[in-house]
């Protein structure tokens, strides 16, 4: 099922539709932290099927867990174009106070197009942004953007999630700084009791911020620039962990992207700004020794990132096992811990 491992550009496999998580685990009768946890050891290739709540058992005193504290915005708006056609608009990335990168979905637009938004608001598409899918746009809103989005926006969702869920379903327990178009979903299974159990075990939890843009839709496209912030406290904790031989567990590919963007001479230093770094198997990762992440679609750039930590065969083996054991994919699904 998984082919093309040694030479191909991406891991390829067929994802059966029934392995897509269509709704939050809570809607399936599970607690946030009751999703499944596939643990794979990249040194021994051993695979264990566990439960997320047992995560602390797999870590040791002194290990550092780095999470993304970016909160998810209800970044999806209903819009109408100049001909009165309805469309969906995704706000992806805030470039400045009045400039956003946006993605109009399912209609043709051109430079200068003005889209009407709810409550008399509008947005003007100033110029295309890297290709023809995204646009730099200037909104004209009756109130501050975040207030407006919370009143009129809904969380971005794709076809495999058939209905809207309240924004709370798209926030992790770490969410502090609003700014992500899509949930940093590897952090979703954490609950306060798991965080408490980590603390009791002597495992520190540190934060970075990386505001996610709209997904590069799991095609072969590389991810776009995203804003990140790695504070000194976190950089220090990561350096100290490596110095004493402890693990650094990055929770999500967003955390890897942020930490790797803050590297100098293979050491994490405090940094913030825009990053266009693409982490792939071509460059070994300096800033993390373990990764917690969801299950990614075939050919996804995120899947490429996994091969920067674990070799391709290891990832392929873990994915084969996940498919066989019927793990669930996407942001409401199960998670994979690579140690």
């Amino acid at each position: 099922m998984i082919a093309d491992l040694d030479t191909g550009p991406a891991l390829e496999f067929a994802l059966p539709p029934e392995l897509e998580a269509h709704e939050p685990p809570e809607a399936r009768g599970l607690a946030r932290d009751a999703v499944r946890l596939l643990v794979s050891d990249r040194r021994t290739d051993r695979i264990v099927h566990a439960t997320f709540r047992d995560l602390p058992w797999f870590l040791d005193s002194g290990d550092v867990v780095v999470v993304n504290d970016s909160a998810t915005l209800p970044a999806r708006l209903s819009a109408t174009d100049e001909d009165g056609r309805e469309l969906t608009l995704h706000l992806s990335t805030r470039l400045s106070d009045d400039t956003w990168v946006v993605e109009p979905r399912g209609t043709d637009v051109a430079t200068g197009t003005v889209l009407s938004l709810p409550a008399g608001a509008s947005i003007r598409l100033a110029r295309p942004h890297r290709g023809n899918r995204l646009w730099v746009a200037k909104p004209s809103l009756p109130e501050p953007t975040l207030d407006y989005l919370h009143r009129w926006g809904r969380p971005i969702r794709y076809d495999y999630v058939p209905r809207d869920w309240p924004i709370e379903n798209y926030q992790t327990v770490f969410a502090r700084r609003p700014g992500s178009a899509e949930m940093p979903s590897a952090g979703r299974p954490f609950s306060s009791r798991v965080v408490t159990a980590l603390a009791a075990r002597g495992v520190a939890v540190e934060t970075i911020t990386l505001h996610t843009g709209v997904a590069s839709l799991e095609a072969d496209e590389p991810p776009y620039e995203e804003w990140f912030d790695v504070p000194e406290r976190t950089a220090h904790a990561v350096r100290q962990a490596f110095a004493r031989g402890s693990r650094v567990l990055a929770v999500g590919t967003t955390v890897v992207r942020a930490l790797e963007s803050a590297i100098s001479n293979c050491e994490v230093r405090a940094a913030f700004g825009w990053t266009d770094l693409v982490v792939t198997g071509q460059h070994p990762i300096c800033s993390a020794s373990a990764l917690l992440t969801g299950f990614h679609e075939p050919r996804a750039s995120h899947l490429q990132m996994l091969t920067a930590l674990a070799d391709r065969d290891h990832v392929a083996r873990a994915y084969e096992s996940a498919l066989e054991q019927r793990y669930l994919w996407h942001e409401f699904g199960d998670v994979h811990l690579i140690l």
């Binding site: 607690a31 009751a34 264990v48 099927h49 047992d54």
Partner: protein
């Protein structure tokens, strides 16, 4: 729940009933986590099963190392589907009347027979809740129900364990997690000999007789809670489905 491929944690697994339960579960395809204090007996029990199934053996005291037991089990197998709290502390032998019972001895009996099973249960429940499936079996004794002179300490601990089990079952209603209290009945085991030194036990059944009842409960019982006599179960039903 089929035992095949599932993970069972059995305490007191080096000798007697625990060792026979382990053998029965192994024969039905369960992966085993075996815990006992005696390293040599445990090693021999584990070695005998290693060709049959995956075995993790830990020579630890469950009343002191419950967390380490579950941590090691989860790291190795990722899950615990069945918990059999079989390890028991009899107390001093010969068994003193309550009037003479040193409270420190009684404390140890209660720690091993009541608190350790509850602690292990607390540690395995989150995973069972997540999977909406799991079986907890606590081994009891008719001394937990009837009052026999000299059996007061042990009996009080088993009465407490039974009440803990009943309460857990109430609290776990509709979770898919089942709780059973199993009285294995009189057996010819080292523990029984300690309880009644000098008495000839050779007419009593060995621990291999009640052991299949434990597998039967896991695989076939539907009710979420029951107090079961293992030997009655074996005579009545287990012959049909057990090996």
């Amino acid at each position: 729940m089929e035992l095949d491929g599932k993970v069972a944690l059995i305490t007191g697994a080096s000798r007697g009933l625990g060792r026979e339960i382990a053998r029965t579960f192994a024969g039905r395809g369960a992966k085993l986590v075996l815990v006992a204090r005696g390293a040599d007996d445990l090693e021999s029990a584990a070695r005998a099963l290693k060709d049959v199934t995956d075995v993790e053996a830990m020579a630890l005291d469950v009343s002191e190392d419950a967390e380490r037991v579950v941590e090691t089990a989860i790291r190795r197998f990722g899950r615990i589907d069945v918990l059999v709290n079989n390890a028991s502390e009899l107390g001093p032998s010969p068994m003193p009347a309550l009037e003479e019972y040193d409270w420190r001895d009684l404390e140890r009996v209660l720690r091993v027979n009541v608190l350790a099973p509850l602690h292990l249960t607390q540690l395995v429940l989150p995973g069972m809740r997540a999977r909406q499936e799991g079986v907890i079996i606590n081994v009891t004794s008719d001394a937990g129900v009837e009052a026999y002179p000299g059996w007061g300490g042990y009996g009080a601990s088993k009465a407490a364990l039974e009440h803990v089990s009943r309460t857990l079952a109430e609290e776990l209603k509709d979770t898919g997690i089942r709780v059973y209290v199993v009285d294995p009945g009189d057996m010819n085991t080292e523990m029984h000999q300690l309880a009644e030194p000098g008495v000839d036990l050779s007419d009593l059944p060995g621990p291999d007789v009640p052991a299949p009842a434990f597998a039967w409960l896991v695989e076939h019982e539907a009710v979420p809670f029951a107090r079961v006599s293992a030997q009655d179960l074996v005579k009545g039903k287990v012959g049909v489905s057990a090996p």
